[in-house]
């Protein structure tokens, strides 16, 4: 691939497109189209359908249950799955803990965890951020003290996405508080969320949803066999995880789908006495967004194409640019959908609807969801490495400052 797909890649894309079209359950597609966040059962159901076909672990090699795709094929998968619109496969399972175990795990860890992660029999969450350690992750304090065959873990994690659904948590802990460099005393542990001493407390975000949590560890016993890599070498694992292939971080497919949906809804809404879709100011705004998305798509092609050709297979620092621009555009699409809704985007009537299930619909759910999405995705420029951190990376690696 250069800036266009080869015949093989086009055929591959068509195969994926047909499969997703035929296999994605209608109820999930419709919920996603209206802008609802996928429920746990939606993600599980779709990931299992993909896994049966061997595609859920889309970036794993064949020997571990993945399809063994090239970087371009992986990108095509994401670009077809997101706009379906289908739930995305669990990033914690597939793009985080999977590749980590493939790279650093023992044979036993691979055997025990990988098939279950691919089939989402275990739901994973990520225990990295702490009240005093976000962008400055190395200042984390959650302590793990070796005691015979176990580590005893004490401390707190925060902003832990979907911890309330999780069966397992991969966690960075401080195993050597006396290490000279902060990065040297950290270990990477796999923690069973059912272990006594773990408390998960919800954080309800501004959109009203429960996605985030605080997780408290109080004398939590973790068997030493759940250590990944060597003791005190967890920072290397974390660096690998965070710097690992970042195809798809731009979430272009998602943005494209959201623009398409906003345009559909703009046929139903009005501005100045005619359909909103015919309003020149609205059309200009949509056109600008679509042009920006096209430009980003071409940049993504360049990055992925270069990645595929590079012998070392090292991630391109330009993926930081993809993250920055991709999240900015994703946020712009959420704002667009909210503006299309206009006054109808203010109510939270979906919530009321569930309580009054027998009554006729109060108002269009998509408009209420548009505002929730707008609010929730303010976080997009913060999570996955803040956009400020990404800019620091760019200044060092690309601009050489």
């Amino acid at each position: 691939m250069d800036l266009r797909f080869s015949a093989e890649e086009t055929a591959f894309r068509d195969e994926l497109r047909g499969f997703i079209r035929d296999q994605l359950p209608d109820d999930i597609r419709e919920r996603m189209r209206l802008g609802y966040a996928p429920r746990k059962e939606d993600t599980v159901r779709w990931q299992r359908i993909l896994n049966q076909r061997g595609w859920a672990a889309f970036n794993w090699p064949k020997e571990y249950g993945g399809p063994g795709w090239t970087p371009v094929q992986r990108m095509i998968f994401l670009e077809e799955n997101q706009p379906a619109p289908a739930p995305e496969v669990s990033s914690f399972n597939i793009t985080m803990i999977g590749p980590v175990l493939i790279q650093f795990g023992t044979q036993e860890q691979k055997r025990r965890f990988l098939p279950r992660a691919a089939n989402i029999d275990d739901w994973w969450c990520q225990g990295f951020s702490e009240p005093g350690a976000g962008s400055d992750l190395a200042s984390l304090k959650t302590a793990a003290k070796r005691d015979g065959d176990h580590y005893v873990v004490n401390g707190q994690k925060i902003w832990t996405s979907t911890a309330h659904h999780a069966d397992w948590c991969f966690c960075l802990v401080r195993s050597d508080p006396g290490a000279k460099k902060r990065q040297e005393g950290i270990s990477f542990l796999l923690i069973d969320m059912r272990t006594p001493g773990i408390t998960v407390r919800p954080i309800i975000s501004i959109d009203g949803s429960h996605h985030l949590n605080e997780v408290f560890f109080d004398d939590v016993m973790v068997p030493v066999e759940n250590l990944v890599s060597e003791e005190h070498r967890g920072w290397d694992v974390a660096k690998y995880l965070l710097g690992h292939e970042r195809t798809g971080i731009a979430r272009l497919g998602k943005s494209k789908e959201r623009v398409k949906f906003a345009k559909e809804m703009a046929h139903e809404m009005r501005a100045n006495g005619r359909p909103l879709i015919d309003d020149p100011a609205f059309r200009q705004r949509v056109a600008q967004l679509e042009v920006d998305l096209k430009a980003l798509e071409i940049t993504q092609f360049r990055v992925v194409s270069a990645y595929e050709k590079s012998e070392a297979g090292r991630p391109d620092p330009l993926s930081s640019a993809l993250k920055i621009k991709g999240t900015e555009l994703l946020q712009a699409t959420t704002e667009l959908a909210m503006n299309v809704g206009g006054p109808l985007a203010m109510p939270d009537w979906a919530q009321e609807l569930e309580a009054l299930s027998n009554e006729p619909e109060l108002g269009p759910a998509w408009a209420a969801e548009a505002t929730k999405n707008y609010l929730f995705l303010r976080a997009a420029s913060i999570y996955g490495g803040t956009n400020e951190i990404q800019k620091n990376i760019l200044t060092k690696t690309v601009l050489g400052l």
Binding site: D207, G208, M269, R270, A271, N272, G273, L276, G342, P343, L344, M346, P347, D348, W349, Q351, E352, E359, L362, G363, A368, T371, K372, L375
Partner: protein, 244 residues
């Protein structure tokens, strides 16, 4: 040109700010949200005591004789506290409509009640299909018995419409959809026969309602201003509440 606040305005700002600092912490706000009205009746009484509910009204109507700057100072403080009470709906939106279109008799009947905290109102203008088109009014008002009117239609996202005592309802007495001419405003008792309200929270917890009007009878005295000539009032009411 002088952008400084007068001494009186500074005192007003300081007292509103202090009231909300003392009584509108996040935990307190949560408790107000859980009250049956979705806001605090006790706070509403405090606003009345402080004179906030009569800020833009003339003194003869138990008002403070202020204007947009005074209500701005109150609204800034309410915004900081994410206050839940129907100040915008009652004092700013409905109050402006009454000041601009209400007769002497209508104003003296209602404004003092607002100022003293005894009546809340909501401005029921927007409709489901209208988005931001202010003249897109499909609700109709037809001549009724004894020079009165009969209203039919539906109003959407009526902020604080869920428990307002009265509604100011826009309805068309003539003309087609989008025609600015032919729009009238009516005072409607929110508990009148034919008024049905479905309440829900907005994103920040503030309450709103979908309101349907089915053969709602009002008297000739409930019409605000000249028949069919209320559209400029609607525009000015919306301007009074818009941050631009």
């Amino acid at each position: 040109m002088d952008f400084d606040l007068t001494e009186e305005q500074r005192l007003l700002r300081d007292s509103v700010d202090r009231l909300l600092a003392d009584h509108y912490g996040f935990a307190q706000r949560r408790a107000y949200l859980a009250e049956p009205e979705g806001h605090s009746k006790a706070m509403w009484e405090r606003y009345a005591e402080l004179g906030l509910l009569g800020l833009p009204f003339a003194e003869e109507y138990s008002g403070f004789g202020g204007g947009a700057i005074e209500t701005m100072l109150a609204m800034e403080a309410f915004g900081r506290a994410l206050a839940l009470e129907p100040y915008l709906a009652t004092v700013v939106l409905s109050g402006t409509a009454l000041r601009l279109a209400g007769s002497e008799a209508q104003q003296s009947a209602i404004l003092p009640q607002i100022a003293e905290g005894r009546m809340t109102l909501a401005f029921a203008h927007g409709e489901r299909q209208a988005r931001y088109d202010l003249s897109d009014v499909l609700t109709t008002a037809k001549a009724g018995p004894q020079r009165g009117w009969v209203l039919d239609g539906a109003k959407s996202v009526v902020v604080h419409g869920d428990n307002a005592d009265r509604l100011i309802v826009s309805a068309r007495i003539s003309g087609e959809r989008d025609d600015p001419d032919g729009v009238s405003l009516f005072l409607v008792d929110a508990n009148a026969n034919g008024v049905a309200r479905r309440s829900y929270p907005m994103r920040d917890g503030t309450r709103a309602a979908e309101i349907s009007l089915s053969a709602v009878e009002v008297t000739a005295d409930d019409l605000l201003g000249a028949p069919g000539k209320a559209f400029p009032v609607v525009e000015r009411v919306v301007e009074a509440a818009s941050p631009r």
